[in-house]
Amino acid sequence: MTKYITRRMLWFLPVLFGIALVNFVAARAMPGGPFDFAGDRTIPASVVANLERKYHLDWPMWKQFGGYLLDLMRGDLGPSFHFRSRTVNDILKQTFPVSLQLGVLSLLLALIIGIPAGTFAALRHNTWVDYLSSFVAIVGTSIPNIVLGPFLIWAIALKLGWFPVARWGADYTQFSLGFIPPMTLKFWEHAVLPSMALGTALSARISRLTRASLLQVVREDYIRTARAKGLRERAVIVVHALKNALIPVITILGPLFAAIVTGTFVVEQIFGINGMGQHFVDSINNRDYPVVMGTMLLYSLLLVIANLAVDITYAWLDPRIRYE
């Protein structure tokens, strides 16, 4: 097991280095430097030369890259071009907890709805429950976030008035443990629609996968043995079948995290949530390249760590993987 973990971690470092390299090259390749936005006056050439010397922009590229790596290890992501008085770190520190809440809630919703739905459908194979659930699942995976978000707002918030439309994350800035918000009713009110918008497609995917894998597991011999031994059906399913059936679900958690990340861009934009995704989209439109690069770096880091964790968990759960 340790050998597998060390092997995976050894892949981890070149990937991180590659991500940092791509980010650095992209940052340098973008037209528009830090000294373009000085208002209406252009800066005289000698002042530009001095500023470049101060910010080490006249060093050779490899030296600049080394400085960039050192900055990254210190955790400094640079100033923002658009918000002149804030650094990228400030912006991320304020908006990342909100995005994290949204992502975690959506994932929880997807798991809580998806796994029982898939299990139910598999156990009642070829009945109307199965067909209905499969149909709903396919429709669920086909409705994109950009369609489901406005539809939920229109149908539930505007027409029925059950939940508020927007402004999550704008009422409080105190988080316990760095990202857990105060659990008031107002928070949950605001949290329902965005989590549904993001989590529905995910829960449909999880439900389809759970159903497919459980259908295969239930035909295995050890399930037949368990039933022959006289165990209750619930024990057979939950203790024996589900544990093995959920392993394929673990393997799609990697792409699922990526889907959550891209989903937060859309959902935060639609619901007006003050999260990292919305700042990312805004900074693209404002040509605020340090924020774009910093956000990309943080997302890449998150996804790579998540993939690593998923791989290790998968190897822990399914020992056959370790010996490949």
Binding site: H125, N145, V147, A212, L215, Q269
Partner: protein, 345 residues
């Protein structure tokens, strides 16, 4: 006792019974299986209609009956004709000067029906071009890696594993940001011609490159797996014994057998491409306005959701129906080609 003589009719019947049955190719079998799946057939017909709409969206028709000037049959008012006199009209409105807008008008006075119909071009083009590019790259890579084996296979698959660790969606976004940034400034030479090509295509050229570069990894792995399983079969060995070279074996023997599952796998990816294009257009990194991508239409209109919901829901319904159709068709294809998986989704 009389000898039993066979009449000519009985003789003909005996001969017909002994004649070898005409075999059905696996392709015909799969097609027959596919036609039994009504959802897949309906989706296939819907997609064919979409393709026809995309191709014939601006076909002119001279109408003898109404005496008006020649107008396109399907999209009567074009997708970029801005008109400030009437804006944000609802469904089925007829204006004072006699124009009938079947699906209403958006905030700039552009006809929603025309924009939605032209939007099929964007979505279908992205779907097919991105799928073809990804299929091509994946096939070539997987064939080379799987057939040659050994060190070559090892190195190539390690490269794929390395790329698997990257969050490629992040790189697609970075690539699109970069392309948008350099398109704003003029550029000369090769970059300039590429940028002009991109602008003339409404911003789709760079999008194709970005999407095609994203998804070939899975296709390479599938292809390699198929090649590995077919490489040891007897007919390949027989071909080699007869003297067939590597290229002939790959193209004449291996490729026809693995192409089926690979195409099915790629068709299952198409809804992902459509969704990715809509997502990128929604956040402003896709096609350039006024090219009517459905994602772009939704992002322009969702702020008017309370007052004019049809501006959001017309492209939303179109997008959902297209994705649904490709999903059902892909599922039907997969069930038709691999009967063991039937019933288990």
């Amino acid at each position: 006792m009389a000898v039993k003589t066979t009449t000519p009719q009985e003789l003909a019947r005996l001969r017909a019974a002994e004649a070898p049955r005409r075999g059905r190719s696996p392709l015909a079998d799969a097609f027959r299986q596919l036609t039994k799946n009504r959802l897949a057939v309906a989706s296939g017909i819907f997609i064919i209609i979409l393709i026809l709409v995309a191709v014939f969206a601006d076909t002119m028709v001279i109408s003898f009956f109404t005496g008006e000037e020649a107008r396109p049959l399907l999209a009567p008012y074009g997708y970029a004709e801005v008109n400030f006199r009437y804006h944000d009209l609802g469904l089925f409105t007829r204006t004072e000067d006699g124009k009938l807008f079947l699906l209403g008008v958006d905030y700039l006075g552009r006809d929603m029906l025309s924009r939605t119909l032209y939007g099929t071009r964007i979505s279908l083009a992205v779907a097919f071009v991105a799928a073809s590019v990804s299929l091509f790259i994946g096939l070539v890579y997987g064939l080379a890696s799987g057939y040659f084996g050994g060190r070559v296979d090892n190195v190539m698959m390690r490269f794929v594993d390395f790329l698997y660790g990257f969050p490629l969606i992040v790189f697609v976004i970075l690539m699109q940001v970069y392309f948008k940034a350099i398109s704003r400034r003029g550029a000369t030479g090769l970059a300039g011609t590429l940028i002009n090509l991109n602008q003339s295509m409404g911003g789709m050229f760079f999008l194709f490159i970005a999407l095609g570069a994203l998804n070939w990894l899975g296709m390479a792995r599938i292809t390699r797996g198929q090649v590995l399983s077919y490489r040891e079969k007897e007919f390949v060995e027989a071909a080699r014994m007869v003297g067939a070279g590597d290229v002939r074996i790959i193209f004449r023997h291996l490729l026809p057998n693995i192409l089926g599952p690979c195409i099915v796998a790629e068709t299952l990816q198409i809804p992902g491409y459509i969704f990715l294009e809509a997502f990128l257009s929604f956040i402003g990194l896709g096609v350039n306005p006024p090219t009517p991508s459905w994602g772009l239409m939704i992002s322009e209109a969702y702020q008017a959701l309370r007052s004019y919901p049809h501006e959001v829901f017309v492209p939303a319904v179109a997008l959902t129906l297209t994705t649904l159709a490709f999903n059902f068709l892909g599922d039907g294809l997969r069930d038709a080609f691999d009967p063991r998986l039937r019933g288990t989704t």
